[in-house]
């Protein structure tokens, strides 16, 4: 079969990082036709055409160079530029819209998948916000160092006379006022929005402190007094903007991962029109009751029912089952499943908008909203902090007004009240939590664990019950030949000659075990049975026991090979557990955490896996809704669950669990829903993540304690009027440094 040979010919990732998923994709997804691509081609003002493609299967800089070089070499191409961070390729050319098809075919030939990217999905608003925060940070940093340079001169300038000091103050004002107006916007906007809704958040005291510090300094500058607070205000802004920028960038990356889900949706379908001709149309245009042709190897574009043909269907994306199911007329198919062995005709039941995939995406959204109800720790602190600080400032003002005497009593009272507000500005508090989170996520990143939301660490540390999915999570998700030692090399090679032409997971496993080689000619594949071919005058059958005329041996997955009339040979297959699955589970149990297995797979397979890995509690043949129900049950029992899963069917459970994790090979929708992503074929990252999250929790507690101690010392000084700008600057930067250094301790061990 031509497709199989094209896989062998395709040049893979030059650094050899091509994964099993890439191979599966290459063989199961045909290149998109012109009809599916032209709606995404944009025409520029000069008449040049442009398209953005999401590339899958690219792993390294070699892939990028290869893609750019080979695409540019096509006739008429003006520019091909790939973004390795977002995995998007922008191609521009002069000529026909249909050229897009040639480009995609070329990429497919190189071994990469290409799907058009809908520019409407671009998170422009978030991108703008991140870029603005970066600019604001730069401005605040610039202003901070320059104002500080001047104020050090004032503090140390023993021989400085009043007029010189005045000049220094005015220059500081000229730098700090516009800088604060620009760089403070993120805080001012958020504080204003909160106040308008009669709420309060951390940005309210921050904005108030910045505005008051600047206003007070302007007043003091005009009256030629000794103390100004410009440096304190700028430092506050700069330090807080660092945390804000890192936090927003983390969230932008998460949003981009979710977008890839949209690109993954099957986007074309072969429609059989009333006169019998077949045409390729975008999946979004399919109406219920339309008849569709599904070729072998194609992804099911919309939900439907088979009306003609028998085939094997890979349902793992929807049910988590490793083995394909035989499908016959009357059976239902869901979008995202893959038709493996024979062409089918199906009738569309639901349109793309309400197919299972879209429904699951919606479930994820609901789960995410649920999660955001966890009030962020800093905002929770603000709700206590703001009233306390503000009443303290008010009391200072009243106290100085009542107890003071002389002409300047009003000024002294307001000065001291403002000093209280500035010194209590939650700098340490605002930095304490984000600093720990940034350091912890950086350390986990180096260990191959991606943390997607800031509060995930906090939740991970508290989780006490771990729920695993099986296929693709505890196991590698692909079958492997388990009794290779018992099979003669030439027998294996004969089986491989038949297997290389098939997309069935069992055939894949045999082909993988035998390595590259030739495929037999004129292979007949019978859906749900096996493959048959004539080699050297002998009829060779490879398939189920009944197909070759053998007796079932064991309960596991097996296939039989029979050459002519010879005795059939048994091939056994297993979905092997990840290498470190057992040790990881032992480790989790040692930590006193509950471990449970929930899988959509068959009972026998689930019990074998559970026994092999030492999991005592397990449930098999469980639906996505069933997983959700079990999680709710655990929640009702007072458990804080950590769900680890990879399939589309796990996504709702991942989103609704207290905390969640996905292996990196997971379906995009699951990766989008999970709090952490474990990279590489390893589960041990989970243990690392748990221990780092515990350590991070301790650091947050220490930092908050430091902030409290700092306030206990600094606030009385401010209340009783001892705070000069020098003390304010030292105290503020001192406490910020202290919490940052404490957070950095995390990255050492």
């Amino acid at each position: 079969m031509a497709e199989t040979i094209s896989i062998k010919d395709a040049k893979f990732c030059p650094s050899g990082q091509t994964t099993a998923q890439d191979l599966a994709r290459m063989s199961s997804e045909p290149a998109l036709g012109a009809d599916a691509l032209t709606p995404y081609v944009q025409t520029k003002t000069g008449g040049e055409k442009s398209i953005d493609l999401m590339i899958s299967g690219a792993h390294c800089s070699g892939c990028m160079a290869k893609i750019e070089r080979e695409t540019t070499a096509l006739p008429g191409i003006l520019l091909a530029r790939m973004n390795l961070s977002t995995m998007r390729l922008n191609v521009q050319w002069r000529g026909d819209d249909g050229e897009a098809e040639t480009i995609v075919a070329k990429l497919e030939q190189l071994g990469y998948g290409a799907k058009p990217f809908n520019m409407e999905l671009e998170p422009l608003a978030q991108k703008k916000r991140v870029s603005f925060l970066l600019k604001a940070m730069a401005v605040a940093g610039f202003a901070m160092v320059n104002v500080m340079m001047l104020s050090v001169g004032v503090w140390d300038g023993g021989e400085m006379i009043a007029s010189e000091r005045k000049i220094m103050h005015w220059i500081s004002a000229a730098i700090a006022i516009p800088a604060a107006a620009y760089a403070g916007q993120p805080f001012f906007r958020s504080a204003f929005a909160a106040l308008k809704n009669k709420h309060t958040n951390m940005d309210v005291p921050i904005s108030l402190a910045v505005i008051l510090a600047i206003s007070l300094s302007i007043y003091e500058t005009i009256h030629n007094n000794q103390h100004v607070y410009f440096d304190a205000a700028m430092m506050l802004l700069f330090l807080l903007l660092i945390g804000r920028y890192l936090d927003n960038r983390l969230r932008l990356k998460t949003g981009e991962a979710a977008q890839r889900l949209a690109a993954m949706q099957a986007s074309t379908a072969s429609l059989i029109s009333s006169d019998g001709t077949i045409m390729s149309v975008p999946a979004a245009m399919i109406k219920p009751d339309d008849h569709l042709m599904i070729a072998a190897g194609q992804r099911i574009p919309v939900d439907g029912e088979i009306i003609k043909g028998h085939s094997d269907i890979d349902t793992s994306i929807a049910t988590g089952e490793t083995l394909p199911l035989a499908a016959a007329p009357g059976d239902k198919l869901y979008s995202g499943m893959i038709n493996l062995s024979a062409p089918l005709t199906m009738k569309a039941l639901a349109v793309s908008g309400d197919s299972v995939l879209s429904e699951i995406s919606k479930l994820v959204e609901v789960g995410e909203q649920k999660k955001s109800k966890f009030v962020r720790i800093a905002d929770r602190a603000a709700q206590l902090y703001v009233p306390v600080v503000h009443s303290l400032a008010a009391m200072t003002f009243i106290g100085w007004l009542l107890l003071g005497s002389g002409d300047e009593v009003l000024r002294t009272a307001s000065l001291n009240a403002i000093a209280v507000l500035i010194i209590t500005c939650p700098c340490a508090l605002g930095l304490a939590v984000p600093a720990v989170q940034v350091v912890a996520s950086g350390r986990l990143f180096r260990k191959g664990v991606l943390i997607k939301s800031g509060d995930a660490l906090e939740r991970l540390a508290k989780a006490d019950y771990i729920v695993f999915d099986k296929t693709g999570t505890l196991t590698l998700g692909s079958l492997q030949l388990s009794n290779m030692d018992e099979i003669a090399a030439n027998t294996l090679e004969t089986a491989a000659m038949l297997a290389r032409a098939s997309r069935h997971p069992v055939a894949r496993a045999v082909a993988a075990a035998a390595g590259p080689g030739p495929a037999a000619e004129n292979i007949l594949e019978i859906a749900g049975q096996g493959v048959e071919a004539v080699i050297g005058g002998k009829t060779i059958k490879f398939g189920s026991a009944s197909f070759v005329g053998a007796h079932n041996k064991a309960s596991g997955t097996e296939s039989w090979l029979r050459i002519g009339k010879a005795k059939p040979v048994c091939f056994m297959f297993k979905d092997t557990p990840r290498l470190d699955a057992r040790t990881t589970i032992e480790d989790l149990k040692k930590r006193g955490l509950g471990v449970e297995l929930l899988t959509g797979d068959k009972k026998e397979i689930a019990s074998e896996t559970a026994a092999g890995l030492g999991i005592d509690i397990w449930q098999a043949e469980i639906s996505p809704q069933g997983k959700l129900a079990r999680l709710d049950e655990l929640k009702a029992q007072g458990h804080l669950t950590l769900m680890i899963g990879d399939g589309i069917n796990d996504a709702p459970a991942l989103a609704s669990a207290y905390a969640s994790a996905s292996p990196s090979g997971a379906a995009d929708v699951s990766r989008a829903a999970a709090d952490i992503i474990l990279q590489g074929n390893k589960l041990s990252g989970l243990i690392t993540a748990l221990s780092i999250s515990k350590a991070a929790g301790r650091r947050v507690f220490e930092n908050l304690s430091l902030a409290v101690i700092y306030n206990m010392i600094a606030v009385p000084l401010a209340v009783f009027g001892f705070v000069t700008p020098l003390i304010a600057a030292l105290a503020m930067s001192g406490s910020s440094m202290l919490v940052t250094l404490n957070a950095l301790r995390l990255s050492r061990r």
Partner: protein, 55 residues
Amino acid sequence: MEALLYLIPLAIGLGAVGLTAFFWTIRSGQYEDPKGDASRILHSEDKPIVDEDDL
């Protein structure tokens, strides 16, 4: 103290140049693809200045 008359503007001016350069790097999209840019330098399209056949 007279030195301050030109030292302060000079210091601020130098800082401003740096700030402007940073804004320019943001505007020209230099932070859009850090991963790609880091590896792009390893795959230069340069060819020998003198064609080897001419030697």
